[in-house]
């Protein structure tokens, strides 16, 4: 347990970069987070000492790599409180996890006329796969709408649910509005009509504890790189019975039990989903990221992110011409802040901020239907991690004010 979260910033070598002559204020954590030295070291150590293909070799090195890889599966299971290690499938990332559920599991339970419910705040990766499966199966795609405060409209959601609702797929945290959705309650409502519940946890897992048994969801997807781990590695959690019923999306080496000329018997889950050589180093890096987060402890992480977000919300809205989107109540949102400066396109704003060392995102954030709903073509987005500090926040606010002056707004 680190008492002073400020010290943890030193664990991230990239945060010492100088950009355009200014110290880097990295505020695009919703896109990807930076990596602590512990994760970088784990990758280097693996390649220097343990690199071998897993599950195949009978030699010591291969056994060592296999042991480390499978130990991370156990770590992930504990991290999200899965009932069993068999419920943890390694994937390429959240997008792959969601696509697999949509493309292989969903068609086994969907018929023409059935309904899939998603929300208007979904990232394209939890929207386009469902459009595709709806088109293929003849199911209908229906949307949970927003309230005026940028939260999901639970009354309207309740009205949407019915006996034809087979799948409900929702984001845990909006990557645009920062809204933390009441997943436990929404899952219970979906289960009451017999629907399977899929959760996109990409914006949640690095920011607060996630307990899949407490949420009671059926599938939960997330990415390593948004929680201080490497790119190219993600997780699909699924209830054991569902993973058993779900067909593999890919076929090949290591996922088989027995192959004969005309047919193949697969291994049980999770092995049947992990065809070919997996990103072994990235799995081990993800394990190091989880250990790192556990070492810091959630209370310190949450306190720092809430403090920065609340303060940024207040200071940005205090600038005339700035609109901040999403919930006003700090405890109902995560550390993502989307905003616009009247009279200046967010791309121009992001360029001006970059010249001052501030890295933010500008655009539609892979959520075009939400942009349409908000009546904007794009927004600027600052997103905080626990390693951000008061200096980053000052740099952001000062840079927005400088942009305003430069363009005489």
């Amino acid at each position: 347990m680190v008492n002073d979260i400020a010290i943890a910033r030193n664990d991230f070598p990239i945060l010492k970069e100088v950009v355009n002559g200014q110290p880097l204020a990295y505020l695009d954590n919703a896109a990807t987070t930076q990596k602590p030295q512990a994760v970088i070291d784990a990758l280097v150590h693996y390649y220097q000492h343990d690199n071998a293909n897993i599950h195949r070799g009978v030699y010591t090195l291969a056994e060592r790599a296999t042991e480390q890889y499978e130990a991370v599966r156990q770590q992930v299971a504990t991290f999200i409180n899965a009932a069993s290690v068999a419920e943890i499938v390694f994937t390429r990332g959240t997008t792959t996890s969601l696509n697999w559920v949509a493309q292989t599991y969903a068609p086994t339970i969907l018929q023409a006329g059935d309904e899939i419910v998603i929300s208007i705040m979904e990232h394209h990766s939890n929207l386009v796969p469902w459009q595709q499966v709806a088109q293929r199966t003849g199911a209908k795609l229906r949307y949970v709408e927003l309230t005026a405060s940028g939260e999901l409209d639970l009354a309207q959601y309740g009205d949407l649910l019915n006996a034809r609702t087979k799948i409900v797929s929702l984001t845990h945290v909006s990557n645009v509005l920062g809204t933390i959705n009441p997943i436990k309650k929404m899952t219970a409502m979906a289960h009451a009509v017999g629907a399977t519940v899929v959760i996109d946890g990409a914006q949640a897992t690095g920011h607060f504890p996630v307990d899949v048994q407490e949420l009671d969801c059926d599938f939960y997807a997330f990415s390593g790189h948004k929680m201080y781990g490497p790119t190219g590695i993600g997780v699909l959690y699924g209830r054991e019975a569902l993973l058993t019923a779900m067909p593999p999306a890919e076929f090949g080496g290591e996922m088989i039990n027995l192959v004969t000329r005309q047919k193949t018997d697969f291994k049980p889950a999770p092995a049947k989903f992990e065809a070919g050589t997996m990103p072994i180093a990235q799995v081990i890096g993800l394990g190091a990221a989880i250990s790192y987060l556990q070492h810091l402890g959630w209370p310190a992480i949450i306190a720092q992110e809430q403090q920065l977000t609340a303060q940024a919300y207040q200071e940005l809205t205090a600038i005339t011409g700035v609109t901040v989107y999403g919930p006003t109540e700090p405890t109902r949102r995560s550390s993502v802040l989307s905003f616009n400066l009247q009279g200046l396109h967010p791309h121009d704003l992001a360029t001006v901020l970059d010249m001052q060392g501030v890295a933010i995102r500008a655009g539609h954030h892979c959520a075009q239907p939400l942009m349409t709903d908000l009546g904007v073509s794009a927004t600027a987005r600052a997103s905080f991690a626990f390693y951000n500090n008061q200096a980053d926040l000052r740099q952001l606010v000062t840079a927005v004010q400088a942009a305003k002056e430069f363009f005489k707004l």
Binding site: N20, G21, Q22, L344, H345, P346, H347, D348, T351, V352, M355, Q356, G357, A362, G363, H364, Q368, M371, S377, A378, T398, A399, A402, F406, F407
Partner: protein, 151 residues
């Protein structure tokens, strides 16, 4: 604050065009209407062109975009209105080459050929913004080629 580099990109001329774009609007009787979007940022341009013989008689644009894309469209429409298709095609080529960080590719001087749009050469130093600058020109390229395909 390091805003020196910003003056290179956001010259007053660019800000003026962005804030008060020329030829902004619709052309109901256009011979060609092309809508292009920049999928990475969601910016959209709708370019309408009326051709008379081999000339661009009328041109107008509408849509959503950043200062660079709006200024670029404004400057381009100023430049090409009244010109022949051949002239416009030449200018599109020079403009796109200017932003490919490959000024040697052309013998032509952007300053002489491109009018106000020559100031957009500064966008080369901001690689993430090049697509903003080229969107309108690509729309015009497509409008001309569709017009020629119908001849």
């Amino acid at each position: 604050m390091n805003l020196g580099g910003l003056n290179d990109l956001y010259r007053q001329l660019i800000i003026d065009h962005a804030q008060h774009p020329h030829h902004h609007g619709e052309l109901p009787a256009a011979s060609q209407t092309i809508t292009l979007n920049n999928p990475t940022c969601g910016d959209v341009i709708k370019l309408a062109v009326t051709f008379a013989d081999d000339r661009i008689e009328q041109i107008a644009f509408s849509g959503e975009g950043c200062s660079i894309s709006q200024a670029s469209a404004s400057m381009m429409t100023d430049l090409v209105q009244g010109q022949t298709r051949a002239q416009a095609k030449k200018e599109i080529q020079v403009f796109l080459e200017m932003l490919m960080e490959n000024p040697e590719a052309t013998q032509d001087d952007p300053d002489e050929l491109l009018g106000d749009a020559a100031v957009l050469a500064a966008v080369v130093k901001f690689p993430a913004r090049i697509k903003c600058a080229t969107l309108a020109w690509k729309a015009l390229e497509q409008a001309i080629s569709e017009e020629e395909a119908h001849e």
